[in-house]
């Protein structure tokens, strides 16, 4: 306790706040420290980047430009929200890109059953993949990174075999999903918004969400408290697979084509980036839904800003790398300080 206060005195030589003596408990809320930055840095970054673009990028605020940004980022948001839940349990899901490819591979095969039928089959593929990952992680106890790495590699191969060459999809339903809108809001964006709201409710209002975060915070304690640890873990990976498949569906609609070889490639890394930048700790125990959405938007906007300034995508990637390092640094820094207080 005493040292906790000492850190406060060391970093902020301002007069001591009017907390009761000896109660170091409220310290973490007193000052904008690493923890505060980890939680809110993404919003700051987003606002700053919007302001910069308003100033320097012509036509940034035009409807067409905004629409394009939103449509591009929507599938990323959907995948990232699934990833955020997995990371909230202290795990990771590297298979999401492969799941998207698998979904894209099966859609042309089942397009004869109609748009909804093909979508349903695509989503089922994601659920099955998630169930496999979840079972291997929860019941056999394989480390998430290994289990989902295996699925990432294997499923991409399977998707190539099943789907084969790039196929264009001439289905009015998919065309509407990809380029249509409702009251001016693209369907793709609407789907992402609905998913975000549902995940937010799931995380903050339900037993499942609380249990998920408890398991991420201390799995052993959760097990001893009688929580259905295996069931929750399995469900989380199923949800991640489902959302990845949904993102695959959105992308197929937008591209009007299915290309299992390239679709969703490296998306897992983009999603992890969005989650981490959004302030969800990689160690688990928390899921920041709004932060994840903002994280995806921020990464999208960084690329857009640089490309709009005629800076190549390769440089944009390097800038993204810097952002990731900063976000992780904020997390590690917070944890170190916390440890030194203990």
């Amino acid at each position: 306790m005493a040292e906790h206060t000492a850190t406060a005195a060391g970093t902020a030589p301002a007069p001591p706040p009017a907390a009761p003596p000896g109660e170091a408990a409220t310290t973490s809320r007193r000052r904008p420290d690493g923890e505060w930055f980890r939680r809110n840095g993404v919003y700051l970054g987003l606002v700053a980047l919007v302001l910069v673009n308003l100033a320097i990028t012509p036509n940034f605020a035009s409807t067409g430009s905004l629409r394009l940004q939103m449509v591009q980022v929507a599938p990323i948001i959907v995948v990232s929200l699934g990833m955020a839940m997995v990371i909230g349990t202290g795990g990771i899901d590297l298979s999401v890109g492969a799941v998207m490819a698998m979904t894209a591979a099966v859609i042309p095969l089942y397009i004869g059953y109609g748009t909804l039928g093909a979508i349903a089959v695509g989503l089922i593929a994601g659920v099955l993949s998630g169930a496999l990952a979840g079972s291997v992680v929860a019941r056999i106890g394989v480390q998430p990174i290994i289990a989902t790495l295996a699925i990432m590699v294997g499923l991409r191969g399977l998707a190539n075999i099943v789907g084969g060459q790039i196929k264009s999809i001439r289905d009015p339903g998919f065309r509407e999903l990809g380029s249509g809108d409702l009251f001016g809001v693209p369907w793709v964006v609407l789907v992402a918004i609905v998913v975000a709201v549902l995940v937010w409710v799931l995380m903050s209002r339900t037993t499942f969400g609380r249990q998920l975060m408890a398991i991420g915070g201390n799995a052993r304690a959760s097990q001893l408290a009688g929580l259905p640890v295996k069931r929750v873990l399995t469900t989380v990976y199923v949800l991640s697979g489902l959302l990845a498949a949904l993102a695959g569906v959105l992308l197929v609609g937008r591209n009007q084509a299915s290309d299992p070889a390239t679709l969703g490639r490296l998306v897992e890394l983009t999603a992890i980036t969005a989650v981490v930048v959004g302030g969800t700790p990689l160690t688990g125990g928390q899921v920041r839904v709004l932060g994840t959405v903002a994280g995806a938007l921020l990464m999208q906007l960084i690329t857009y800003t640089l490309v709009a300034q005629d800076i190549t995508n390769s440089v944009a990637q390097m800038v993204q790398a810097v952002i990731v390092v900063l976000a992780v640094y904020a997390q590690v820094g917070t944890r170190k300080r916390r440890r030194s207080r203990a």
């Binding site: 906790h4 408990a25 037993t207 408890a214 001893l224």
Partner: protein
């Protein structure tokens, strides 16, 4: 002791020095306006084992941190070997000859004992680590200290007690003149503690000064010759250990009158409880391979049954088996006459069994969650309708328990990791009480919490029993077990070896049963002379995975 205890090549075993090793005068330290230390005076003589006691928040940790260079004092002076010193970091203090051993062992589990002892100071040959010399030096060192351990064994495969002694050996090998032991025994068993004390005495006999911090009061008289009591940042008493009565010490720590404490006893347990006739919990024939052999016990409503035993006797395992957390090959557990199917925590919980586990950090709290969410953790489904949690219901529940157990937190939303150990323990007790248990299994409920919280928890155990719960209590503290229990079942080597109740339930009797024929050695007796260290009971390395505490 003819051997020098230090083995750092090329360094003499300590500069000769007359007078105190450490002289601290008027040390003051405050954090953000809050005084942690107010003019503390302290003197450590060579060959002395000096107890430093006080409640949590009394300033012990801050004081140690000032000595070891973690904090700089605001005012006052620290003299080491006669010279004023102001270490700016712990490594400087260590180089000068002040070593610190912490409650949580700061060693590398995957390295061997020898590698840990000489970590960073390995003997070299042709620029590479000379493993043979390393092992030889380490073996010599542990032998001189009377520690029975294979120095080539991986540290993580050894029991906690042995690990703690390796930490001590490391401290010694650094040529320490002063060794500060900050609650080194809190995770050790009786027998391990004896061995550790043997090593400590050997050290003291060679002229090293030791500062010893412990929550276990018995140990102070067993080991220390001098005591300093801190309260609210002041040294309120310094004097010979043997002259200080136990009640007087507690009174000094709490700042109460001796008469008050005497009236209440040193633990906060009341008389025995009203008990029903039929057992509420009935356990028999619990078998766990290599751990438990046919363990059985019963507890009636309103009865506190103590579970005694030494390291590896199977106390924690028994509780975990009853709770369904341990895979058993055979087990018969009944609550209120209804059989509980073994091997499922959630079934046991539904049957009304709750387990407060020993390891608060690893198996109890979810550190980054709020007090509120920690309390509600086990009853979330009950607090929900259709999977949606009802915050109003949770708040009502949490409010009830925070008041009933007097949990001190700035708000129910405060993160649990920010609370003191005692309050964390109360949060966990609240978590289990929220499940409305009929049988409450308590594994070391007062370990590592300050005296005030300890008494509150002890009082609460009584209260729960009075309300008709059947309580099974595991405690390494003799007083707690004897005064807190109506009956004590003693385990030895995974089987029940005896039972004490009524007039036979005394510390002396319990010790005799625990010792199992070894002539009794009362822990509150006078400290044995320095020579006895060599006779310390050796602690044998346990097999991998077998280091679960009894």
């Amino acid at each position: 002791m003819s051997h020098p205890l230090t083995t750092t090549p090329g360094r003499p075993p300590g500069r000769p020095h007359d007078g105190p090793l450490l002289t601290v005068s008027g040390v003051t330290k405050s954090f953000a306006g809050v005084h942690a230390l107010r003019g503390v005076d302290f003197t450590l003589e060579p060959g002395s084992v000096h107890a430093l006691v006080g409640e949590n928040g009394a300033g012990k940790s801050t004081f140690i941190k000032v000595l070891t260079g973690v904090h700089a004092a605001d005012a006052g002076e620290v003299r080491f070997l006669g010279d004023p010193v102001a270490f700016s970091r712990p490594a400087d203090a260590q180089d000068a000859g002040i070593s610190t051993i912490y409650q949580e062992i700061n060693l590398v589990p995957l390295l061997t004992v020898a590698q840990n002892i000489y970590l960073g100071r390995e003997p070299r040959r042709f620029g590479l680590v000379d493993t043979r010399a390393l092992n030889r030096q380490a073996a010599e060192l542990v032998q001189r200290l009377g520690i029975e351990v294979d120095v080539r064994a991986e540290l993580g495969s050894l029991g906690l007690g042995v690990q703690q002694m390796v930490a001590l050996a490391r401290a010694v090998s650094i040529d320490a003149r002063v060794v500060i032991m900050d609650e080194p025994t809190s995770s050790l068993e009786v027998r391990e503690v004896e061995t550790l004390f043997g090593v400590a005495r050997t050290l003291a006999a060679s002229g090293v000064g030791l500062v010893f911090v412990s929550h276990r009061l018995d140990e102070l008289w067993a080991l220390c010759d001098t005591v300093t009591v801190l309260r609210d940042g002041r040294a309120v008493h310094t004097g010979p250990m043997a002259d200080l009565e136990r009640v007087k010490l507690v009174a000094l720590m709490l700042g109460r009158e001796v008469s008050d404490v005497r009236a209440e006893g040193t633990t906060d347990f009341g008389a025995s409880h009203a008990q029903g006739d039929a057992p509420l919990l009935s356990v028999s024939g619990v078998d766990v391979p290599n751990r438990l052999r046919g363990v059985g016990l019963t507890a009636r409503p309103g009865e506190v049954v103590g579970l005694g035993g030494l390291l590896g006797s199977g106390r924690s395992e028994t509780l975990k088996a009853i709770y369904g957390d341990l895979t058993t090959t055979a087990a018969d557990v009944e609550v209120g006459g209804t059989k509980v199917k073994a091997g499922s925590v959630s079934r046991s919980l539904r049957a009304g069994i709750a387990l407060l586990s020993e390891d608060r950090k690893a198996e109890g709290i979810v550190p980054d969650m709020s007090v509120r969410d920690n309390i509600a953790l086990a009853v979330l489904p009950k607090m929900a309708r259709g999977g949606m949690v009802s915050d109003a219901r949770i708040d009502a529940l949490v409010d009830t328990f925070m008041r009933r157990l007097q949990i001190k937190a700035s708000s129910p939303r405060q993160k649990v990791r920010e609370l003191s150990g005692g309050n964390q323990q109360k949060v966990l007790i609240a978590r289990w009480l929220a499940t409305e248990p009929r049988v409450f299994l308590l594994d070391e409920p007062t370990r590592g919490i300050d005296v005030g919280a300890k008494r509150e928890v002890q009082g609460l155990i009584d209260e729960l029993a009075d309300q008709g719960l059947a309580v099974v209590l595991v405690s390494s503290e003799m007083d707690e077990l004897v005064e807190g229990s109506d009956r004590v079942v003693v385990l030895h080597d995974g089987a029940v070896s005896g039972e004490l109740d009524g007039d036979r339930l005394t510390s002396a009797e319990l010790l005799r049963v625990l010792a199992g024929g070894i002539p009794d050695e009362h822990p509150t007796g006078p400290p044995p002379g320095p020579g006895t260290g060599a006779n310390a009971v050796g602690t044998h390395p346990t097999t991998p995975g077998g280091d679960h505490r009894g």
